[in-house]
Amino acid sequence: MARLTSAQTRGQLAAITALRWQLFLHSLRSLGGRLEMVSRIFSFAGFGIMGFGGAVGAGFGAWAFVSQGRAEQIAFLVWPILLFWQLFPVMASAFSENVDFSNLLRLPLSFRSYALVRIVFGASNPSTLVGALWLLGLVVGVSIARPMLFPLAFLTCVLFALFNLFLSRAIFSWVERWLATRRAREILGVVFLLFVISLQFIGPLANHFSGARRFPLEHILLQVLPFERLLPPGIVAASLARAAEGQVVLTLGALLILAAWTLAALWLLIVRLAAQYSGENLSEASARPFASVARKSGVEIGWNLPLLPGRVAAMLEKEFHYLSRSGPVLFTLVMPVVVLLIFRFTPARSGHDESFLLRAPDFAFPVGAAYAVLILTNILYNAFGADGGGVQLFFLLPVRFREILVAKNIAYAFLLAIEMCLVWIGTALIFRPPAPGVTVATLAGVLFAYLVNAAAGNLMSLVSPKKFDTAVLGRQRLPTTTVLASLAIQAAVVGLGALVFLLSLHWANLWTAALLLLALAAFAFIGYLYSLRAADRIAFSRREALLTALTRA
């Protein structure tokens, strides 16, 4: 086939843009799609506020640094922008949309068009919006302090923005390559989780050791500083500082290094895109090992759970099989204990040698328990997400949805019970064993919180479902509607719990808190029963939307 003319290429790009627009319009046809749209407007408004607030801060900081002749320290503003731009899409996947453009490969799209589409559409996420606004603020701040620096500040920030854009896309593309097989996804998911957890400890440990004058932080920082100046944030700062000093050659040199970094990030991305464009196949089938040895069929008699009806027991067994194969979900079991460790090493306010929980260890168990409830939100509020297309079976089986939900809720309650044991033991080892009153009041609070969340989660699971993969880190993204709903419910539950604890402190009797929370749990149980009763009706009336949302690829 002859090479595409530029008019044809433009036509293709226009068609892809029109396709995205049509997809967006079609998504508004369903109630769930409209709710998702409203939720996205709210979340983008939040990011807008975050962007403008940060831009004002960055602008003020840049103005101050340049005015005071300390332009080099602009690096302190640029590093957070880089970290946010690169880490936010990974850490908060709920707010980032990763569009799969692999279908475009069957069309006669030129590589340039393909790369452009991947970069432009891939970049349309909150981190780009917020990062760009922060950089804009920085440009404005520098320009107000030294108007002559505006062209250079603008050019530097545009280069830095492009660097971030290319790097974030390159990271995603390479991660996608590394996670091509299920096993690799699971292993790397856990490794990444370990990395994220280890990041949480940097601050607390640095504080802890620097207080004891044992950790040579300043020495290390001084060693690292020369290298920092070779990295893009350091170069942005150096470029502005040299320009402020009137050193043209050094300024241009810094700009050239920044451009080289940008090209390097682009090259990293292009290498991946070129592989995809040439028809690289990352499907599961190509990586599947061939089982050469015939073995017995592996059928075992199902679990015998005497107190539960057979169907609920079977469903429960299935849920445990799923959970046991979900590395990231299981790994989050240890997170509440990790949070307690972080609190153990983090001073609550400057000027205090001891952390907040060391001074008030009675709060350690409630804090860990509250966190344990919080991390169950993803699976509670999207109970059918992991089932995917399997949800069809629930509509074909002679079983009521309330039975399915009860089994799922029991499985999650069992997880929570394990969490509570871990948190109690963790609290006892890290701080001190929780007092009986604290233990009972906290468990009553957890019961209340779990019932409220289970009731709301059951309904949201049916009203706003989304297919997700429990085996892969970052693939448990909830619909934005559900995220906002669950946040509101968590706020209400935590508020009520805090009120009860404050009242009990006022009366100096924690057992009162336990009684009040048990009373609240009784009310929540009524709500939970209502959610079960409503489940069959909602599932029946929303079966088409539910099946569409969970069976789509």
Partner: protein, 279 residues
């Protein structure tokens, strides 16, 4: 007289302004191997989804084994087995776990469910990869597993949506022999397929849907006779609309199902409809 295995009256389903199925009156007698045919987009999958409770009809009624689907869906689901379009599998279970789970959800006791799961895995030749998760199965293996799950409780009616799609010749032979044995034991099978040769070989009765309307229904012989009568009428008539550009029947010629299908839905295209720009 036994109640029909499947019966619909004025069954209609619309999606907005699109009428996917219109006023369908379908009757399938117990013990029939029933093929449900139609061109793409004719309404086959919509119909099978409504018959199995995956989709609500806009109007009309469905009765399975004499029970109204809307009145007692749970009892009907006990009696039927379904291989739906999406196969309804749980990817993160092994084949054995999945069959065990489905068996118990259909109310089998633990031991029976395990025994039948083992037998089905052996029968479907899926027992050599006990640790492999369903998500890592090939498409054909998933299809066999879905079929095994649909029959684990010994259903009286089996609904199959394109059961042979993506299945290799060996597995296809296994499935066909299993389905024929089920028919011999009195079960009713309702299947959709685009492979007309398979339908012709397996099915005793056929219905054809076109643009949402049921346009033919009966045994293969009845359909042949109907098409022959129509052809005779076209020859005898001067009305060119009756002779829908098909070759007239040669006396004594036995039409294949494909020929019957094309004559009924008017699927043949004349030479001048070809795409002249196509190299």
């Amino acid at each position: 007289m036994d109640a029909p295995a499947i019966s619909t009256r004025a069954l209609t389903r619309t999606f907005g302004s699109l009428v996917a199925v219109q006023d369908m009156n379908l009757d399938v007698a117990p013990g029939q191997f029933f093929g449900f045919l139609g061109p793409n987009g004719a309404g086959k999958s919509t119909t099978i989804k409504m018959l199995t409770g995956l989709l609500a009809p806009t109007s009309g009624s469905i009765s399975i084994l004499g029970i109204d689907l809307a009145a007692d869906p749970i009892e009907i689901k006990r009696q039927i087995g379904v291989v739906p379009e999406g196969m309804a599998l749980f990817g993160r279970l092994t084949g054995a776990e999945y069959l065990n789970f489905v068996g118990r959800m259909y109310g089998l006791d633990r031991v029976t469910a395990a025994q039948r799961a083992a037998e089905l895995l052996d029968f479907m030749q899926l027992d050599d990869q006990p640790k492999t998760l369903v998500t890592d199965y090939s498409h054909g293996m998933q299809k066999k597993l879905a079929l095994a799950a649909a029959v684990i409780h010994g259903p009286r009616i089996l609904f199959l949506d394109e059961p042979f799609e993506g299945v290799d010749a060996i597995a296809s032979g296994t499935l066909k022999s299993m389905l024929q044995r089920m028919i011999a034991r009195g079960a009713t099978i309702f299947l959709t397929s685009h492979v007309l040769e398979i339908v012709e070989r397996l099915c005793s009765h056929v219905a054809i849907i076109n643009r949402g309307r049921l346009v033919a229904q009966g045994s293969l012989e009845e359909l042949r006779a109907g098409v022959a009568a129509q052809s005779q009428a076209a020859l005898a008539s001067a009305d060119p609309s009756l002779a829908n550009a098909e070759q007239p029947l040669v006396p004594g010629e036995k039409l294949t199902l494909e020929q019957i299908f094309l004559r009924i839905v008017g699927g043949s295209r004349t030479v001048d409809q070809e795409l002249s720009w196509l190299g």
